[in-house]
């Protein structure tokens, strides 16, 4: 009987797979959505202050990337909101009014962001430079507000509170302030925000590092590299501290998840740390590098710190050995990448402090070119850590994933999952195609002397509306007619 209860319903695997797939895809776009506006505005502000056309050119091109990314992000975000209902109606039906408010904040923040991006993107030509810049200034704040909402909801799923259960086990007496500001919210939010800044910075800088390696060493590439890389490098040590702090918070607030992250089987003191390594269902660990005492020291600064093990709760209330191993690998990968990025940031910082210039080593640029991809991997790993480490709970210690899943049958869910994969390959393929085409156009525009002929932005689907070629002369004051007319 107990075995029967523990068996997950057949629709759980497809539902979970689809959710994991769509979230993993959406997360790739999030760093750009949250942090690219800030990076672009820093570049923009720099360009305005120094009256630097190169900086302005970079900022405008980044704004075009921002627009494409935002459009795709809205589409994949819409899919996620539908999936809450299509895949997890049990969770939304019971807990929607307790933790849903965060999404409400997020939806409005998104709205504001969409409007501001439209103004920023289409305001380049006609708005006075200062007005244009000032109108865009709230963008990063709107992005942070959106992240606030989402992270409030997710941290509630990790450390739920702000309600009491009635005799039937339904939540009542909702206290919104407690439900939004849950114990893990603060650490999770700041860890996330800094991760987004780092990732976006390294991704953008990585593009120009690649250009540098291929011999494009002009001011355009130097500037495009320096500003985002500096931002990311400054954030990296901060993130190291924040990451350490959130791990300790998980140790206190979600001890079983911490046990999965560190594959600790039995509650004990003097617990060793395993770098990677695999946990088996009988509690043994194979592979990996064992460092005696370290886990206890990291968790509580003393070797005799007691660390809760997975066996402290019944088997059906903790991640399985396989899930714990996944969580552990994801966690170690994230920490590993973070440490390497810290070294990279230190390298950059030391050269800058001593010589007041960029590092000259080709290896530095090789590492910088990889840093973007590495930080995206780290973001994915961080998300796997927090989501798989919570298993089997969708609402930690209050609702199992199996109780939240839809009653729709597995074949229908598998079919939809297949369809979603096809559609996402198509969407992300198109995203890549659009970015590559933009890059090619920009490169052509940079190379040609007759710049402006055939306005490089004409074919960009989200980018600025092109002058309406083929419909007679463009309306508007002739004074500001672009240099198309000049050539």
């Amino acid at each position: 009987m107990i075995h029967l209860l523990a068996d997950p319903p057949p629709q759980m695997l497809p539902a979970r797979s689809q959710m994991a797939f769509t979230l993993a895809a959406h997360i790739i776009l999030v760093p750009l959505g949250v942090a690219l506006p800030l990076i672009t505005l820093i570049m923009h502000g720099y360009g305005l202050r120094r009256d630097d056309p190169t900086a302005l050119l970079l900022a405008r091109r980044w704004s075009a990337v921002m627009a494409v990314q935002f459009a795709i992000g809205i589409v994949t975000g819409t899919v996620l909101s539908f999936e809450f209902g299509l895949l997890w109606p049990g969770m939304m039906g019971r807990w929607g009014d307790v933790f849903g408010l965060g999404f409400g904040i997020e939806a409005w923040a998104f709205f504001l962001e969409a409007v501001l991006i439209a103004i920023y993107l289409y305001g380049w030509r006609r708005l006075p430079a200062r007005t244009h810049f000032l109108l865009a200034l709230p963008l990063p704040a709107a992005a942070l507000l959106g992240a606030f909402g989402i992270l409030a909801a997710n941290s509630w799923m990790n450390t739920p509170r702000g309600f009491v259960l009635d005799s039937a086990g339904n939540p009542t007496g909702v206290d919104i302030r407690k439900a939004v500001f849950t114990p893990i919210f603060g650490p999770e939010y700041w860890h996330f925000v800094v991760a987004m800044l780092m990732t976006a910075g390294y991704v953008v800088a990585g593009v120009y590092a690649t250009g540098w390696l291929r011999g494009r060493r002009d001011r355009y590439h130097r500037l495009g590299f320096t500003i985002p890389f500096t931002l990311a490098a400054v954030c990296t040590p901060v993130q190291f501290m924040l990451g350490d702090s959130i791990a300790r918070q998980v140790f206190h607030k979600q001890p079983v998840k911490f046990a999965a992250m560190e594959i600790v089987w039995k509650t004990d003191t003097h617990v060793p740390e395993y770098l990677f390594g695999r946990l088996h269902p009988d509690g043994t660990i194979s592979g990996g590098i064992k460092v005696p005492q370290l886990d206890s020291i990291l968790a509580g600064f003393r070797p005799d710190t007691q660390v809760t093990g997975l066996t402290s709760v019944p088997a059906d209330a903790r991640p399985t050995a396989a899930q714990a191993t996944i969580t552990h690998f994801a966690f170690d990968t994230m920490v590993g990448i973070g440490s390497l990025l810290l070294l990279l940031a230190l390298w950059y910082g030391l050269v800058w402090l001593r010589r007041r210039r960029l590092p000259a080593s080709v290896w530095f640029y090789r590492a910088a070119a990889c840093a973007g991809v590495a930080s995206v991997v780290a973001v994915e790993c961080g998300w796997v850590t927090t989501e798989v480490g919570r298993q089997p709970w969708i609402v930690y210690q209050y609702m199992r994933v199996a109780d939240a899943v839809t009653a729709t049958r597995a074949p229908a869910l598998w079919t939809m999952f297949g369809l979603v994969i096809l559609v996402y390959v198509f969407v992300f393929g198109s995203f890549l195609v659009v970015l590559l085409k933009m890059r090619t156009r920009w490169r052509l525009a940079d190379a040609s002397d007759t710049a402006g002929r055939g306005a490089p932005e004409t074919d960009n689907p989200y980018g600025p509306r092109s002058a309406l070629v083929g419909s007679g002369p463009a309306p508007g004051p002739g004074a500001s007619a672009g240099s198309e007319d000049r050539s």
Binding site: I74, L86, M92, L101, W108, A114, M416, V434, E457
Partner: protein, 347 residues
């Protein structure tokens, strides 16, 4: 009015806003589909691309907002709808993604075959998505679902659902054409103005016919909503929708300024949506789930109202600013050429 009532009203406002804003985009997709071959449809498609590009993301956010209000304010309602209407909603979301991707990919595609493929994906998805969303609404309006109803084809394949689906398509076509006619003027293409005016009138006629048919069908199939539509406030809204529709038709026939026909079209559709919402009173799902019974925790509803008010204070000026800038011609792109030109001047 209770907190639940206010939030239900906010939800209805959100649905009306999505019907108008998102509907206009779907309508543009509808006319893209019917624009004819590559050569004949070139100019209408060009206009559709340019008119939609700056606004379609903002329009889509309304839908997310509607979903959030649903699950935060009325969690049981949200669960009921998504369990019972699984298939149409799943198809609608696939349509939403395909539409976005089709629209995004069409322009960069250089070859005709590619443009045709992406264009067809965009246009067909623009047709299917409003149909399935409309069908889901029809299933709710006819009271075919109630808390605990399992997913079944009958929930959304029934006379009321099919009519709601068709009406949704006709309404989007009507809105799309009315807006595109205005855009044609704005972009200086008077021939397309007439082109879309004719189509808007045609779509308006379709909406009128479908509405009349619907009044007959709902009489037997969705009695509660029928009663609401033919009495009291519901009736007043139906009349308002009819008057606004007539006004749109009149301004489309004449040479009235585009903003009149646009405003009238929006009023007609919004009044129609409101009429449906009011006709459902006091139910979220007639006649099994009332607004009061479906409501979430009272504290949450109060906070939801507060968040809404704060957001309106923040978002309204931003949206107003966007429209003001747009209508005053301040929103135009800067190309690489401008920056280069400046750099050249400096040199």
């Amino acid at each position: 009015m209770t907190a639940a009532g206010v939030v239900a009203l906010v939800l209805l406002l959100g649905i009306a806003a999505y019907a108008c804003a998102g509907g206009t985009d779907y309508g543009a997709g509808f006319w893209d589909l019917t624009a004819g071959g590559a050569e004949r449809g070139r100019r209408p498609r060009w206009l559709i691309d340019h008119a939609m590009a700056p606004v379609w993301e903002v329009n889509n956010v309304w839908l997310i907002f509607v979903l959030v209000i649903m699950w935060t304010g009325f969690p049981v309602f949200f669960r009921t709808v998504f369990v019972a209407m699984w298939l149409p909603l799943a198809l609608a979301v696939v349509g939403i993604v395909l539409r976005g991707a089709g629209f995004a990919l069409r322009k960069p595609a250089r070859r005709l075959a590619g443009r045709r493929l992406y264009g067809a994906v965009f246009a067909i998805a623009s047709l299917l998505t409003p149909f399935f969303l409309g069908a889901a609404v029809g299933g709710i309006a006819s009271g075919r679902v109630s808390p605990g109803t399992a997913a079944s084809v009958a929930n959304w394949a029934n006379p009321t659902s099919l009519l709601f689906g068709l009406l949704a398509i006709a309404m989007t076509a009507f809105l799309g054409a009315a807006f595109l006619a205005g855009d044609a003027r704005r972009f200086g293409a008077p021939d397309l103005d007439g082109y879309f005016r004719r189509r808007a009138l045609f779509a308006l006629a379709a909406v009128a016919v479908l509405t009349v048919v619907m009044l007959f069908v709902t009489h037997g199939d969705a009695p509660h909503v029928w009663h609401g539509l033919t009495h009291g406030v519901g009736l007043a809204l139906v009349v308002l929708a009819a008057v606004a529709a007539l006004a749109t038709g009149w301004s489309l026939l004449g040479t009235a300024e585009a903003r009149w026909s646009r405003s009238a079209a929006v009023v007609a559709v919004a009044a129609g949506v409101f009429a449906w919402g009011v006709a459902q009173r006091p139910y979220l799902i007639p006649v099994s789930l009332t607004v009061t019974d479906g409501a979430g925790a009272t504290t949450t509803l109060r906070w939801l109202m507060l968040v809404t008010v704060v957001a309106v204070v923040l978002v309204f000026p931003a949206v107003a600013c966007l429209y003001w800038l747009d209508t005053h011609g301040a929103l135009e792109p800067l190309t690489d050429a401008d920056l280069r030109g400046r750099a050249g001047d400096d040199a």
